[in-house]
């Protein structure tokens, strides 16, 4: 069909949410629920597939998947058999692009060598390990179920299972953390020789335990000092920053996250999962964001029907410049104006006014067709993005 040709121009990814954890971390605002009395593994995988079928019935897809991300919660609480069943069934419904990246998030506290080998065999080719810190005192404070040693074991087990693409999640500006301690954490992570590091500042979110009883965190200056020092450590070790919190060795950037940041489309299944899909529109692409119900039980009961949807939001043409830049300006390389036009269906002129303001404030750097945040703009991204709000 000719009318879908525009949307097909954007890559398509798939996100799968696994909403259970062994324990809820005090800082985490993701949709996670304590798995008391076991996880209904088979029933959940069946629900996911019913949900996917429903999604594809509503709007069929011919685009191949460029990436799959199994996130949570704690997906590594699921057996390799369940993950295998899921991926196999997905492959029957959607084409996989050559070189597809399939990531699974693992908690170092739930490592099982057998499972890891099984995930790899099932087609998972990237593992993201939620280490958060290598400091046992910090790990305890953060409510993590693992210690420093477990994190290192997790990496070893992953390597032994054949994973050659590893990410470690690490946080900084932790309660009472000194600059030295933060850099030690980073060095410990680098010593594990991952391909990718997500190094992000701890932020207090509403609706979390930390939100209700905020711990004392390093102030703005201290956090900035840690970030400056840490970036030097990372650069020296060969990790280049490509997004606010993402650092990678050459050629090892996370394809799935890049798809978010470049405003690609993504299907999303699982409790509380958020999808974004585009269709041709009259003046701009018709972008729709759909969210699934957050409650695992409600999801299990309703997946496969419209009732499993929590919200459907059509993004207005006036909101697209903000939605696009809120993602694309997170990248050090920014974006090409033609990519903006391709991603939103709008003319690049829609950005003229906010770009002029951003230029005046020194928040962006422009070269030919490219717009990227300046170092100042990247540090004050909130001020920069605000300019694009409708």
């Amino acid at each position: 069909m000719l009318r879908t040709s525009l949307a097909v121009n954007l890559p398509l990814a798939l996100y799968v949410h696994f909403p259970w954890c062994v324990r809820k971390c005090p800082y985490c605002d993701f949709n996670s629920h304590v798995a008391a009395g076991g996880i209904p593994e088979d029933a959940y995988v069946e629900a996911l597939l019913r949900d996917l079928d429903f999604e594809l019935r509503e709007a069929p897809e011919t685009r191949p998947l460029v990436s799959i991300f199994l996130g949570g919660g704690t997906p590594s609480l699921f057996s390799d058999r369940a993950v295998g069943t899921l991926l196999e069934a997905v492959a029957k419904r959607l084409a996989f692009a050559p070189g597809i990246e399939i990531t699974l998030e693992a908690n170092p506290g739930t490592v099982d060598a057998g499972h890891f080998r099984g995930y790899r065999a099932a087609g998972v080719n990237r593992l993201s390990v939620g280490v958060q810190s290598f400091d046992d005192a910090q790990l305890k404070r953060l409510g993590r179920i693992h210690d420093r040693r477990a994190a290192q074991v997790a990496v070893d087990v992953a390597r032994a299972a054949g994973f050659d693409n590893l990410n470690l999640d690490l946080m900084f500006a932790l309660p009472q953390q000194t600059l030295g301690a933060a850099c030690d954490d980073l060095r410990a992570a680098i010593a594990c020789a991952p391909e990718h590091l997500s190094w992000y500042q701890l932020t207090i979110e509403p609706g979390t335990i930390f939100g209700a009883r905020p711990p004392k965190l390093p102030d703005n200056e201290a956090a900035w000092a840690i970030q400056q020092a840490g970036q030097a450590v990372l650069a020296e070790a060969g990790f280049a920053q490509y997004e606010v919190s993402a650092y990678a060795r050459a050629g090892q950037r996370c394809q799935h996250n890049l798809n978010y940041w470049t405003f690609g489309d993504y299907l999303a299944i699982g409790a509380g999962a958020h999808a974004k899909r585009s269709q041709p529109g009259e003046h701009a692409l018709q972008v729709t964001r759909r969210a699934r119900r957050r409650s695992p039980q409600a999801y299990l009961d309703l997946a496969g029907s419209k009732a499993a949807l929590d919200s459907v939001r059509r993004v207005g043409a006036d909101e697209l410049p903000f939605e696009y830049t809120m993602n694309a300006l997170r990248l050090n390389d920014g974006f090409q104006l033609v990519d903006f036009e391709r991603g939103t269906g709008l003319a690049a002129a829609a950005l003229d006014a906010p770009l002029a303001q951003a230029r005046r404030l020194g928040l962006i750097i422009e070269a030919a067709d490219n717009v990227r945040p300046s170092a100042f703009g990247l540090a004050h991204l909130n001020d920069l993005l605000e300019l694009f709000l409708p």
């Binding site: 956090a223 809120m326 001020d383």
Partner: protein, 611 residues
Amino acid sequence: MPQSPSAKEMAGPQSRIRNFSIIAHIDHGKSTLADRFIHLCGGLSDREMQAQVLDNNPIERERGITIKAQAVRLAYTAHDGQVYQLNIIDTPGHVDFSYEVSRSLAACEGALLVVDASQGVEAQSVANCYTAIEYDLEVLPVLNKIDLPNAEPERVAAEIEDIIGIEAKDALKISAKTGEGVPDVLERLVERLPSPKGDAAAPLQALIIDSWYDDYLGVVSLVRVVNGRIAKGMKVRVWSTQADHEVSLLRVHAPKPEPRPSLECGEVGIMVAGIKQVDGAPVGDTLTDAARPCADRLPGFKRVAPRVFAGLFPVSADDFEDLREALAKLRLNDAALQYEPENSTALGFGFRVGFLGMLHMEIVQERLEREYGLNLITTAPAVVYEVAMRNGETRRIDNPAELPDPGEYDELREPIILCRLLMPHTCVGAVMKLCVDARGVQKNMVYHGSQVQMEFELPMAEVVMNFFDRLKSVSRGYASFEYEFLRFQPAPLVRLDVLVNGERVDALATIVHRDVAFSRGRDLTERMQSVIPRQMFDVAIQAAIGAKIIARTTVKALRKNVLAKCYGGDVSRKRKLLEKQKAGKKRMKQVGAVEIPQEAFLAVLQTDPKS
């Protein structure tokens, strides 16, 4: 239209009308007493008896004060078996609103002075009583709150005689809260207050007590018929404009609104006459019959000049016209409100507005924001100064930014007020220190039993600077004061400027005494530092006298302001966060590249050292 029986009974002759006001300090129980009256006269059923009928403006209710005149008509059956028409014309109880008091009193023959029997007389009641006596009103003292264990009615009665100088030996002792003694008050009103004197057969002469603007009806006026009568359909002439309007609606509040065919001689009620111009029926003006005009206008009542001025600026420049219209509508029933356009380099187009005092300013600001939905920046209030220019000319300036260069004038004179304070003897020391710190000069001190009356001459500028709040705090709420303007007096004054990132912000300039300029400058820059949020750039705040910088602080830039995580998931929350950030900036004013919040413009006002 069939009349209700109560309305029929009430349409009695002039001799059975009693028009009165209630003079009381805030919290001395005026509204509770008025509610009791309404209840006793059967004006409302229990179910309809909404607490405190008179204070029906939301701001009044919240603050527990009365600002605008209201009138309620009640039918009271006295012991003599006759039905009397009682009109309660409400009065404001705050020092800023003496003007409003005088216009309510001008429509009455008597007043109830309600005094809290546990607290005693308070300065504003004294001043209002004097106004009532000036208008030849019969003042009936009432001692309220006798149910309180610490009530001392005898002492307070003696205090009334001593301080105000009216007979109070047989003052009624009541509790508006329990209802005790309240029926006696109604009976005494009927016995002691004179009925209205006017000539019912004479041409119409009516006083406009209050006017306000209604979007559907146009101008609505509260009027007192002094001579003659007003009937529906009649053509009335507004004296000052000489314009004629046909009366389309007459109404009384009993206290439920009841339409009436006429308002008779001596009566008080609401009139609508299709007046669409906001200034079509000015408060204090006279109404007459267009077909048979009266010979002269009524004396009206005392005009007062605004003493405090501040700039009011819309946060969004688009709201300028809306602000102009809102001010025009407010001015309709607030003749003391004055304004003219002002152009500030920092704040753009707005108005320089004159107020009676600080509370008046707060009320106006709040009404503009609430009733008219305007988002405003108010600059620090300033008094009017007199400048003796080198060329012999005398100028009045109400805006510190407009003070000429020191080289251009010989002398700068500030307004001095006579302040009368009343307080228990226990806090004399603290109040005296407060007044002396405010550059006051003591003029008089008299003991009345345990109460002390002091008179101080004070620079008005010092009183504008939260004197009222400090007086309350040093006396634990027991001291009260009222004041009047005395004269302009030379003083060593300088203009204190504030510069933000090197740019002089005209709206932040103040005129201060030279002796305190340095400490004021330091306090001010520190205060500004604490209210200006950290932004992308360093913000330098300087205080200066002329070209000389006397204090400096810096609001350090935020080093980073960025959301650490943003993946595909729930973008709506990230978005809300940024929208909140943007909305926060919208409430601020951009001066150069710096966002300055409203609080910064008022920081100028606070003089207490930071705790």
